[in-house]
């Protein structure tokens, strides 16, 4: 089976990602227990104090996880890329079930048992340790079980902010449109959830049995053993993770071309310098990469000039390529960032239709599509729907009106949706390898609506000063990647399912130094 072959060839990476996943879930659940159980106990004892906390935990649970990552990214201490923000999010999600079941466990204790404890002369502390906690424990462990399973699922999204974990494969698979790679991450994640659930179920059952068979000592022993096992799992995971200090961190956005470009930067640095490179590829969109660069979580990534102008710096659309580059170079400099030399190709937005439609309706420009669009449905990425230089402006410039409101879709699915006739017109990337693979036609932007989108690396000035050889290495890429090169590499990954690293290696070897 291809899945097993993939795991075999990626065994080391799989182990590392699994370790990261266990680490994220273990640490965050442990933290949520340490925070949530006391809160739950307090809420059960003092409902007036506890009610607002439980309410807050409820609200946190309703925030979609990606939105939560977005909220937290710019914050100090908890924010930024990597494990920190992921753990924060996971803790917030784990809190509710733990607090809830702690409160429920405490409330389920028969009032006469509490009275008996007091009447026998127990102090509040003794009552808590000898009666209340052991009786509430099975319910609390049940909550931890729920929280852990939720955590294993939510942690897959952590890959979007560079925290690693099995979500890496899922996101990579999505952007490559490669089900095998998606499964390579999804299957172990599901197995991990089942393993955690089973282990905690045994713990819960053990505690219940110990409580029934009388023996508050055994309850204590089992509970301590459970906590120690969790801590040990987290410890092992930490050992596997071992973060490196002095490395160049290359980032990328979450689509194929960006991953290829991230590889291109990484391999170029590796081939021409002695520095170590850490790949933090396949992060979220423009916003996340920009935040990561500014906060130092990554040292460089490839941005597109028009995107930087409008989406990063919120400037009006400008159509002259060199003026765009000058404008953003100046603005990046003010933020302590350096715009390097453009790579040579431009990845503009491409308005795409199916080849047959283009032929039968004789469509060559975007303006030609205004008529048929009235009966069409469009599919756009989330960013494109929002951006000033995206759909709203495009509709105005060409008088486009669709029969039904455009569908918001993930970029990785959008070409296939067009080919499968789920939508009739999409905004894709001009360099996408899927354009040829699916037989799509790009409509000409004859009114020059889209600004120039020169691919150009942006780097932290501090890193370039510390390692000037990086700048020299990247200078060898200036103007050396053509649109044809880029489409070919994208196609090799998207349609031929080759590894981005291998594709880039072949590209670099084919050209003279």
């Amino acid at each position: 089976m291809r899945l097993i072959a993939f795991w075999r060839s990626h065994a080391a990476e799989l182990a590392a990602l699994l370790g990261q996943h266990v680490f994220l879930v273990g640490v965050s659940t442990l933290a949520a227990v340490l925070i949530g159980v006391p809160i739950g106990l307090l809420a059960a004892k003092r409902p007036r104090l506890g009610a607002p906390v439980v309410w807050l935990a409820n609200v946190a649970q309703t925030i979609p996880s990606l939105a939560m990552f977005g909220f937290l990214l710019p914050l100090p201490f908890v924010g930024g890329l990597g494990a920190r923000v992921a753990i924060t999010v996971l803790v917030l999600y784990a809190l509710l079930p733990i607090i809830r079941t702690t409160v429920a466990g405490m409330r389920s204790i028969d009032a006469s048992l509490v009275e008996a404890g007091l009447a026998l002369g127990m102090t509040p502390g003794q009552l808590f340790r000898r009666v209340e906690l052991p009786l509430a424990l099975p319910s609390i462990v049940a909550g931890i079980r729920v929280a852990t399973v939720i955590g294993v699922g939510t942690a897959t999204i952590a890959a979007a902010v560079g925290a690693g974990g099995l979500g890496e494969y899922i996101f990579r698979g999505l952007s490559m449109v490669e089900p095998t790679v998606i499964l390579a991450g999804a299957v172990p994640a599901a197995l991990l959830a089942l393993t955690f659930d089973g282990g905690l179920m045994l713990l819960e059952r053990g505690i219940r049995r110990a409580i029934e068979s009388g023996g508050s000592r055994r309850v204590r022993t089992i509970a301590i053993a459970g906590v120690l096992a969790m801590a040990a799992a987290a410890g092992v995971a930490v050992a596997i993770m071992r973060p490196d200090a002095d490395v160049i961190r290359v980032g990328s956005k979450n689509f194929t071309e960006q991953i290829v470009l991230g590889e291109l930067l990484a391999q170029t640095i590796e081939r021409q310098t002695d520095l170590k490179v850490e790949r933090r590829l396949n992060l979220g969109g423009t916003f996340i990469c920009d935040q990561a660069l500014r906060s130092g979580d990554i040292d460089l990534y490839v941005e597109y000039s028009g995107t930087a102008l409008t989406a990063v710096f919120h400037q009006p659309v400008e159509t002259d390529p060199s003026r765009v580059l000058d404008a953003i170079r100046q603005r990046y400099a003010q933020a302590g960032l350096t715009l390097l030399e453009p790579l040579g190709f431009e990845n503009t937005f491409a308005i795409l239709v199916r080849g047959q439609d283009a032929a039968s309706l004789k469509l060559t420009t975007i303006g030609d599509a205004a008529g048929p669009a009235r009966n069409w449905r469009a599919g756009f990425g989330y960013e494109f729907l929002q951006r000033a230089d995206g759909y709203p402006g495009l509709a105005k410039a060409y008088g486009l009106q669709f029969g039904s409101p455009p569908r918001a879709m993930d970029l990785s699915l959008i070409y296939r949706a067009l080919a499968d006739r789920q939508v009739d017109l999409i905004a894709g990337d001009a360099t996408s390898g899927l354009i040829d693979a699916y037989g799509l036609t790009m409509l000409k932007d004859d009114r020059r609506y889209f600004p120039p989108y020169d691919a150009v690396p942006v780097a932290r000035r501090g890193m370039l000063l510390a390692h000037p050889q990086v700048k020299d290495a990247l200078a060898t890429l200036a103007g050396k990647v053509t649109v044809a090169d880029m489409r070919r590499m994208n196609r090799a990954v998207d349609a031929e399912h080759q590894e981005p690293a291998a594709v880039v290696r072949a590209f670099l070897q084919a050209r003279p130094r």
Binding site: S112, A116, L120, G121, I211
Partner: protein, 255 residues
Amino acid sequence: MTEPAAIVFERVSVARGGPPILNGVDLTLERGETVALVGRSGAGKSTILKLVNRLLTPDAGRILVSGRPTTEWDPYDLRRNVGYVLQEIALFPHMSIAENIAVVPRLRGWDEGKVTARVRELLELTGLGGSDFAIRRPHELSGGQRQRVGVARALAADPPILLMDEPFGALDPMTRREMHEQLRRIQEQVRKTILIVTHDMGEAFAMGSRVGVLADGALAALDTPRAIARSEDPRVKGLLAPLFEATAALQGGAP
């Protein structure tokens, strides 16, 4: 100098923010006597017991235990010196029978050897010595057996005073008779001061060397069972009626 009375109520009133529950109750229990208080539901029976071990404090008046006002006792010390059998029995479900009985001795920091010996002694005393009761769990016992464990738990640290709140209310009449019998035997051996509250005049007669009748927040009568049975007080007669009816039915056939 004579030893102080075990329990003294001095004009004790309790309202707890509503209509009065107890209104100027005076009551003295001498050492070693068993007093049974009878009253309808809501007559303030449980309140009286909770005042003794300071689970409640009075709004007026004071309660002396072994000559000291309850407010001067350390409350935890007081409660460990006053055995309490709850209406609901309320054995701890996560502890074995032995652990349940050992609660107060362990709270008092007895060494484990002494605790084990004491648990065995109490199981014998309450008629649970024969089998492996010590390691069983409360839910494995019958109602009567649980009740005995409740008594054993209250007696564990050998307190001079024992409070019992409707202790045998949930038992069938036969088992209840046995329990009365057994408690009397225990009382002969251990000579505690016992304050027992019940809604059942029959139980009060069976247990109490003196019987008190609680009505409208006050003690309507407090006397020997024989004197109480002849009382003309309507509040006392009302509680006696079911008892006489049962006797009459037995003597005269079906009514």
